[in-house]
Symmetry: C2
Subunit: 412 residues, 2 copies
């Protein structure tokens, strides 16, 4: 009798699971469709901003004003939008915050202006924030409960990340892995994937394109090569700390100078102009995609990873909008390229490992970084990618770019 009751409950349980699938198929698809279109628009606008800036170098001189303007909008109309990615992570963790829909408009516009006028920043922050605020809005529309609100938020994150980078699987795992260090939200795995997959599909349909990088040669799995990769990954892990702390320290330095957000961004914009003329290069403005390509295909300046960290720290520390991930890809791949000369490993191979493992160290998402590697570079050298991710994960300790990320389980 007892066994029969258990079996009945198990079957009921199974039935509920199937019903919940239908619900989430519906909700995830909406989030995915909206985010797919938004991401495609966003990517096209970034392309436009970059092209315009390269055609009109004088735009850089307006950067302080653009920054001041965006910071003014944030402080006037943004509510708590200025908390950025951390707000999204907190909401997915605690579920008692409020994400205003206007966040998506502000961050879209803000990032566009950052890139148009030459700030050094990325895209993932914008995608995640757009995804977060749009999905929160959709969740409120359907009056979801607290538990489901957290899940739909992860759908927003996954579809934003997945469609902006063209990597739906990494987007999926990123969303369920990034909320807390050492924890994966399995219950959101399927909704999160549906959103990411549909988001990426729709974005591609609408005309979004992504950069492609190639590993030209993978060394054999020998003890010496494994040791070399471990050494490289440890350096990548430490680099991820330097990058994350660079942004954090820059933020608190700007805070010491002034509490006024508008002034802060203005000063930051001036400093970016200054840096551009001190180092006499425009290669560190904007996304820096050509340099990432060069890290795979040829040579890069020796100190490129340091300069990119500096430019990005100033830009983001001063309150400009944009993400950290593309700069992280830049720093990781260029550092990998440079290390390849010392460790005598193929440049494109170490550039790829650098890209995923600095990302891993900075976001504390080892499985997602590993899958990002597979989606971007294929499965050749898969063991090395795994080693690079977990070593960097370990070496980065509990540091990272998201200060709201909680430590669920210590790393070892």
């Amino acid at each position: 009798m007892h066994r029969r009751v258990i079996n009945f409950i198990k079957k009921l349980d199974h039935f509920i699971l199937m019903l919940s699938l239908i619900k989430w198929f519906f909700l995830s698809s909406i989030v995915g469709c909206v985010m797919g279109i938004l991401s495609a628009l966003f990517l096209k606008s970034l392309k436009l901003a970059t092209d315009l800036r390269e055609l009109n170098p004088w735009l850089l001189f307006l950067l302080p004003f653009a920054g001041a303007f965006v910071s003014f909008l944030y402080s006037r109309y943004g509510k708590n939008s200025a908390k950025g990615n951390n707000l999204i992570i907190e909401q997915a963790y605690y579920g008692d915050r409020e994400i205003p829909l206007r966040m998506s408009v502000l961050v879209f516009l803000g990032t566009f202006l950052t890139h148009l006028f030459g700030g050094s920043a990325g895209r993932e922050g914008t995608a995640v924030q757009m995804g977060g605020s749009v999905s929160e809005f959709i969740g409120r529309l359907f009056k979801l409960d607290k538990h489901d609100m957290k899940i739909i938020l992860m759908c927003g994150i996954s579809s934003g990340f997945g469609s902006v980078f063209g990597t739906p699987l990494a987007g999926t795992i990123f969303a369920v892995e990034v909320i807390a260090i050492g924890y994966m939200h399995y219950e959101a795995l399927i909704p999160s994937f549906m959103s990411a997959f549909i988001g990426d599909y729709v974005a591609t349909l609408v005309g979004a394109t992504h950069s492609h990088y190639h590993i030209y040669s993978v060394p054999a799995v020998t003890p010496i090569n494994v040791i070399k990769v471990i050494v490289a990954a440890a350096i990548f892990g430490i680099m991820s700390i330097i990058f994350s702390e660079g942004v954090h320290i820059s933020k608190s330095l700007f805070n010491r100078i002034t509490k006024n957000a508008v002034l802060k961004s203005f000063i930051g914009g001036c400093m970016v102009i200054l840096l551009t003329y001190i180092f006499d290069t425009r290669e560190y403005l904007g996304l820096g995609l050509p340099m990432i390509k060069a890290a795979f295909d040829g040579h890069v300046p020796k100190y490129s990873f340091i300069l990119k960290t500096l430019f990005t720290s100033v830009t983001l520390g001063a309150g400009f909008q944009g993400g950290e991930v593309t700069p992280i890809f830049f720093v990781g791949s260029t550092l990998g390229n440079i290390l390849s000369n010392i460790l005598l490993l193929p440049a494109s191979f170490l550039a790829a490992l650098g890209l995923i493992s600095v990302f891993c160290g900075a976001t504390n998402t080892p499985i997602s970084s590993f899958i990002l590697g597979i989606e971007m570079f294929g499965s050749h050298g898969v063991v090395f990618m795994f080693i690079a991710c977990i070593v960097s994960y370990l070496f980065s300790g509990h540091y990272g770019i998201y200060t709201s990320q909680r430590v669920y389980k210590s790393k070892s």
Copy 2:
């Protein structure tokens, strides 16, 4: 001041993390080396058993006696070894069980005899149990505390799985994912990988070889193909329930016939002989690797997946030793092959999806199954593999082959 203390603690924390790495490098390497050698020996002995059985068909008639003999050994000398994989999972979850070292000897011998005399079973159970009991022994040797004992146990599981299948990454994730449904033990990720990697490396060095299967063609990611794959994966998920419940029901039926383990195995052995002559085929005895190969390269009998489930349910239900995973690979790949004619998708493609997704449904390890797919088949068709794994994961509900597996988080 407060901030400085936090920073100091963070740095200390980081230092401890690094020290713990050295400790685990040492412990994981020992587990990995021992398991690598054991796995290689085990694989070679299985090859020998299979060859001998194929050369001497009359050996099948001794199956009842072999089963009775092994069950006698277990009941006389086994302590709680008969609980098998479930004991390992319970110990990794609760940490208050005891795994006797003799388990490894018994399960090795028992599985060898199962395959020598023609029982239908697999290898992973044996590998996991050897890994579990050996690592528990090593842990006791170094007087590890309860927390570390759980981690070293996962090292045992990962190195056993990784070295027996030649898939160190899937082994790593399997160990940290299998203990509870919907939970990943991140804190064991790095030790678990080190053991699996070294285990696989040593096993290969000592001469272990693995079967290779190929996907010959991957369809394009179109809506219609995605729907087809979802349908197939749902069927694979349901098939995984049928397989798991088949083994469980067979176990309870045998229990109803007699409580005497020796007699039970004897009767089970007779039934396998009977089944062999009723269906007039020996293709379902042992591991069945040739049929798995055929599922990728050609055609398989229409009811092969049902017959394999039947043969395996009887064998394992009667208390024979051996794992479930190779039969699961058999069932999944042959079912995939058969579905390919109905769904009009390439046979090798659906065979691969069937292999990983029936495994996923039966073990409730979606990330590990996905990575297994990448390690076995490469990254071509990676999105389809992910879809197959999570759909099957969902459709299998909270059913599975490991009855001791706890549900940490419901699947949706």
